[in-house]
């Protein structure tokens, strides 16, 4: 049985369509990341699952039951918000207790204490329990916010960019920790983000959401290598996938200024958008010349920006190779690494 199923869910706000025929399923222990740019409808998707928004059309099923019109309280899912984390007037302990004291739950006082203790231990925030929520640092606050979600052991976690407001180091640290936590709790997670590194590192499966539509559902690896649309391609990877416009002349792709790019298949369209990852660009073996414009050092490797036949192309190069600005190279890309999207 799937933990969550969305069937053809649509939602409009006035003239804008936030969700447009979304289909989605999440397995019982699956960690699904919904990836998309700002305004893609990610938050609306989560809110619809949580019951804070009612879909105009379609069905929301949780663990096999139709929950489309159930109240948020009845769904037993936990939602961690992007901008809100805690009630500032309460202490950490009170914040953690708040979901447990909800009227329907009827937990004994001892059990409440135990659960708070358990969650605090899990998140390593025991020493913060009696501090006022106002006096926490960003990272502490986010841990407590997640504690609020896990403390009541919901059937499904919904996370709305929970790490976005943290600094880079903390973000990476928590990423690993939370992935591990989800595995231990054996609870499915729907995690929303616009950060591709987050998606790639955490997800069992990634759902690419653009303009309210699901564009692609795939494993991180597949999504990385074979994005179904240029938009998905742009969203993933740093630096992102190169996208250049080419024309076919005989069996070869031609760059905008007419230089040869490389071999094209026979059935290839006459005009196309070519996508290829920077790490698949080699700096030699090509048919035409390119100029190195910028060299960025990123520790283990370097990013080289090339002006190649009227297009800008990013490539990565190991530090072992000497390369300098203004140097002329003859780059090449193996045809099997190129994704071809026809243009008309």
């Amino acid at each position: 049985m799937n933990a969550l199923e969305l069937i053809d869910v649509s939602k409009r706000f006035g003239a804008t369509s936030a969700l447009d025929g979304v289909n989605l399923s999440v397995g019982e222990r699956e960690f699904v990341v919904v990836l998309g740019p700002t305004g893609a409808g990610k938050t609306t998707l989560l809110r619809t699952i949580a019951g804070l928004e009612a879909p105009d059309r379609g069905q929301v099923r949780l663990f096999g039951a139709d929950c489309t019109h159930a109240s948020p309280a009845a769904r037993d899912v936990a939602l961690v918000f992007q901008n809100f984390s805690l009630y500032p007037g309460k202490t950490v302990r009170e914040n953690l207790a708040f979901p447990l004291l909800a009227p329907g739950r009827q937990l004994a006082a001892r059990e409440v204490d135990e659960r708070i203790q358990w969650a605090a231990q899990l998140l390593r925030i025991e020493r913060l329990l009696d501090r006022s929520a106002r006096k926490l640092s960003g990272g502490e606050m986010q841990r407590v916010a997640i504690g609020r979600a896990i403390v009541r052991r919901p059937r499904l976690f919904l996370m709305d960019e929970p790490l976005t407001n943290l600094d880079a180091k903390l973000r990476e640290e928590l990423r690993v920790e939370l992935r591990e936590l989800a595995r231990r709790l054996e609870t499915p997670v729907v995690w929303v983000t616009h950060d591709s590194a987050e998606a790639l590192s955490m997800a069992d499966r990634i759902v690419a959401l653009f303009a309210g539509r699901v564009v692609q559902v795939a494993s991180p690896r597949e999504l990385y290598l074979r994005p179904s649309t240029p938009a998905v391609a742009r969203q993933l990877g740093s630096p992102p996938m190169n996208l250049i416009e080419v024309r076919r002349a005989g069996a070869a792709w031609r760059l905008p200024n007419g230089d040869e790019f490389g071999a094209a298949g026979v059935e290839a369209p006459s005009e196309a958008l070519l996508g290829f990852r920077p790490e698949h660009v080699r700096l030699d073996g090509g048919a035409s010349e390119a100029v190195v414009e910028v060299v960025e050092h990123l520790g283990p490797q370097r990013v080289v920006v090339l002006r190649w036949g009227g297009a800008i192309v990013h490539a990565t190069a190991p530090t072992s190779i000497d390369i300098a600005v203004h140097q002329r190279v003859k780059p090449s890309v193996p045809p099997e690494r190129c994704i071809v999207w026809p243009r008309s």
């Binding site: 809110r47 949580a50 019951g51 804070l52 109240s71 948020p72 309280a73 769904r75 037993d76 899912v77 936990a78 939602l79 918000f81 901008n83 809100f84 009630y87 007037g89 708040f98 979901p99 909800a102 009227p103 329907g104 739950r105 609020r148 009541r152």
Partner: protein, 287 residues
């Protein structure tokens, strides 16, 4: 610059408090001393023999006489104060409660024509009460509410609503929606979320709103005078009614009564003073 600031404050403090100080002095006098052409400024234990002396015999008679039904009135000061307290408190509670609910509705839900409604709510504040008092009088006569506590309570509640709605909307807009949504997802109903999460966060605003509603209904005069020939007469209407008192005004009792009358409001304001400073920006300065 510092001395200039000092000077401004000190000067104004003098101007602002002098009338109050004189009021305090007047409340300790006998009537003849309040209208003496030789100003009596120094309280003394005994009456001076010289009528032109600036001394006067201090007495608490004025305060004691507050429980006397003064000529020209139908009830003693304390009974009028009772009316004021009842009317002021109930109408304040009602205004704040209704205003908070209404502001919450406008703040969190999509109400059709919300902008127009809010404009309507604000515009009711512009209209002089005297422009509506005759129809209200007719209405109250029909409903048999003229001269009753309930009548004034309803009226004050209504006429404080615009202030209450607008102030509360400013406060509620600043409370993130996620506060309640989190509670909803946590298993609370909307009503529970409102009570458990929104109200505690809004209490600063409610306290501020209550102070302003209370000040205005506590001191209201126009309706109190025109709608009540007898019955639920509040303190301002009672005192103002003594004007033109044929035997002259009972100044010491008026001074004493005015001081007693303002005391509860001062007390409330002191209690919520810091909230006043935090809260009165109507959401115009965002932090």
């Amino acid at each position: 610059m510092k001395w200039l600031r000092w000077l401004v404050v000190a000067l104004y403090l003098l101007i602002a408090t002098a009338p109050l100080a004189w009021m305090g002095l007047s409340s300790l006098k006998r009537r003849a001393d309040t209208i003496s052409p030789h100003a009596k400024v120094l309280p003394a234990a005994e009456a001076p023999s010289d009528p032109t002396s600036p001394r006067f015999e201090a007495t608490l008679d004025a305060y004691r006489e507050l429980n006397v039904v003064h000529a020209g009135a139908q009830q003693s000061f304390w009974r009028h104060l009772g009316s004021s307290v009842l009317i002021g408190l109930v109408s304040t509670l009602a205004s704040v409660a209704l205003g908070t609910c209404c502001a919450y509705g406008f703040s969190r839900f999509r109400v059709p024509g919300a902008k127009d409604w809010l404009f309507f709510v604000l515009s009711t504040r512009f209209l002089p009460p005297l422009a509506v008092v005759v129809p209200v009088l007719i209405m109250y006569r029909t409903l048999d509410l003229q001269g009753t506590h309930v009548g004034l309570i309803v009226l004050y509640t209504v006429f404080n609503l615009s202030l209450s709605v607008w102030l509360m909307k400013g406060f509620l807009d600043e409370i993130p929606r996620a506060f309640e949504e989190a509670a909803l997802v946590d298993g609370y109903t909307r009503a529970q979320a409102f009570v458990r999460v929104v109200l505690p966060e809004a209490r600063t605003g409610m306290a501020v709103t209550a102070v302003f509603c209370l000040i205005s209904s506590w001191n209201e005069y126009g309706f109190a005078m025109t709608l009540n020939s007898s019955g639920a007469v509040t303190v301002p209407a009672y005192f103002a009614g003594l004007q033109g008192n044929i035997e002259g005004m009972p100044w010491p009792q008026i001074a004493a009564g005015a001081l007693v009358f303002v005391a509860p409001i001062v007390l409330f304001t002191v209690l919520v003073r810091e909230n006043l400073l935090r809260g009165m920006t109507f959401g115009t300065i965002k932090q």
